[in-house]
Amino acid sequence: MKRIAGLAIGVLALCAIVLADNALLINGAGATFPYPIYSKWFDVYHTNNPNFQFNYQSVGSGAGIKQVTEGTVDFGATDGPMNDDQLKAYQDKHGSGILHFPTVLGADVPTYNISGVTGALNFTPDALAGIFLGKVTKWNDPAIAGANKGVNLPAADIVVVHRSDGSGTTYIWTDYLSKVSDEWKSKVSKGTSVNWPVGLGGKGNEGVTGLVKQTPNSIGYVELIYVVQNNIPYGSVKNSSGNFVKADLASVTAAAAGAAKQMPDDFRVSITNAPGKTAYPISSFTWLLIPQKFQDAGKRDAIKGFLKWMLNDGQNSVETLSYAKLPKEVVEKEKKAINSIQ
């Protein structure tokens, strides 16, 4: 018995070593917002380039920023750009900087689960702020009903769902609310992890979608693809021009139009509540966080190769997953920025 066990252990150990093949594994972690398109991209890229395996873990933007700063992953991903303190922390720790590379445009949408309501509800900025501040507590409150005449809203308590982990999706949502509600700005403000006045916490976009799907009379904020893939209703939001706009490729692209022309060199920009008649007000870029200096030349070249592919072929598949392509100007600017990775 002992001999057999010993033999088994030996064989297994040997296998583990021998089967270590040549594929280079590059580890990344971060935002759940773009996870569907990233997992698709990495899968396709690996099929085309079997020597590279990009292992992306969807753990939330907060964890993405933290782990890439700690150096435990090779690249990060976030929908809430790193602030100056975080950039400095990275610089202090590594002696070189970290770059933001926008990958796609996406949108945070309000999704809900109300029996009998299958269409798109209209949400004003005040309604959304009120709901998430805990001041609008019932679905048939005038703040909501006023914009949705003709819809039978129940007198039920609203169950708010937010993120329990550090999230770029949260950053986008709170960034928007801070812009449209002074009360929100002073009470809660914006960030990847905020002090929510009310609500249940779900882990990742996946967790929030799951909770909303299972909890009657709930409302949550998730990236567009999650409501599309799960066939659940989502609402329109009133933009800065006064129109109720539903998130889709056109409205998200419209939101980025202004920023595209004035993109800063470090690519950190907020496009929530963007001007424009057809712009969807809770849109955002999402970024890959790539270290400026790599110790491992193999990993550096692999990442540079991926980025180039992502800006060309990769952009062609984003629309099938309801993300909007990057504006042309941004793509050109990024192609130049790739050269600064050493």
């Binding site: 782990q67 308590d157 982990d165 905020v194 609500g199 909890t215």
Partner: protein
């Protein structure tokens, strides 16, 4: 053992006159040293763990001091961290778990120790031991897909409609919350209560029962009024053991508690526990104060379980010893 070792002078413990190297040539000494090193490793690991927890939670200790335990604000943006909501959530879910598990567990233990024929008792205990082996993530899985809908459709209406005026049953139900987590925890800790209580009850000497029955009590009366009080401290020990397990439980709780760092009187409200917040926020805690506050929470949890486990063991040992001393 002493007589045999003195007879084996060449292999036993050595006198100080032999040099270390000479001792090493003796095979026994080498083996002794090797095993000593491994045993010392255990001590080293444990010491390192405690030290790491203490050293890496220095910042919140310096900044907040005792206030850390009584503040209920958890705000990563403003760098304000208070442990109260998590301590509260951990306590409440464990309390709910015990309220459910203790009566059921002691009842089952009484049955297994007093009533069931030995073979039946052993077989049932075997199954209960298997229940203790079920991984916690599986309980979480069942919690999400069975207990949460059950809570929403059956348990909440049953408790809220008649008793909704009580603060603990007030308010809307989300499916997830303190009570849901408590129910899942109850299932997880029942096996501990049953197996330890059963052992303790079995160790009560026969005289006690027989004396009571001889005095004319019914079977139940002799059990409840004589045997159980005799084993009382051991049963308390089993409850402490179960409590320690419930406190440290992570996965099953985070999947059904609602992950909301708020203190609420209602059992139907969502909450948070120490283990759950560490699991959710540890990999993303940017900033030293944030990370160290989480580690400080881990230290609190560790101390709680440490004290409970120690007490439990003491109580159980005292009871089983009492049983063998009184004789039977």
């Amino acid at each position: 053992m002493a007589t045999t070792t003195t007879a084996m002078k060449s292999a036993g413990p050595v006198s100080g006159s032999r040099s270390f190297l000479a001792r090493l040539r003796n095979g026994d000494e080498i083996v002794r040293l090797i095993t000593l090193i491994f045993a010392a490793t255990v001590v080293l690991i444990t010491a390192a763990l405690v030290w790491e927890l203490w050293a890496n939670s220095a910042l919140p200790r310096q900044k907040f001091g005792f206030n850390f335990f009584v503040t209920s604000v958890w705000d990563p943006i403003m760098d304000q961290f208070g442990a109260l909501p998590f301590i509260y959530g951990t306590m409440v879910t464990s309390a709910v778990a015990l309220v459910i598990a203790v009566p059921l567990g002691i009842g089952a233990a009484i049955f297994l120790a007093e009533l069931a024929p030995p073979r039946v008792s052993d077989i049932l205990q075997f199954f209960i031991d298997l229940l203790a082996a079920v991984p916690s993530v599986i309980y979480g899985l069942l919690g999400v897909f069975i207990v949460v809908p059950l809570m929403r459709t059956v348990i909440y209406p049953a408790l809220n409609k008649p008793f909704g005026y009580l603060p603990i049953f007030k308010g809307p139900s989300y499916g997830v919350g303190f009570m849901t987590a408590g129910i899942v925890l109850a299932i997880m800790v029942i096996p501990y209560i049953i197996s330890v209580s059963r052992e303790v009850l079995l160790s009560v000497p026969r005289d006690q029962r027989e004396a009571a029955l001889a005095l004319g009590s019914t079977r139940w009366e002799s059990t409840w009024k004589v045997v159980v009080p005799f084993a009382k401290t051991g049963i308390m020990g089993s409850i402490f053991l179960a409590l320690a397990r419930a406190l440290g439980e992570t996965m099953a709780v985070t999947m059904v508690i609602g992950n909301t760092p708020k203190i609420a009187a209602s059992l139907f409200a969502p909450g948070y526990s120490i283990a759950a917040v560490i699991a959710n926020e540890f990999t993303e805690a940017t900033g030293d104060l944030y990370l160290q506050s989480l580690i400080a929470l881990g230290l609190v949890l560790f101390l709680l379980t440490f004290v409970l486990n120690g007490l439990a063991r003491l109580l159980i040992v005292v009871t089983t010893q009492k049983g063998s001393e009184v004789g039977g």
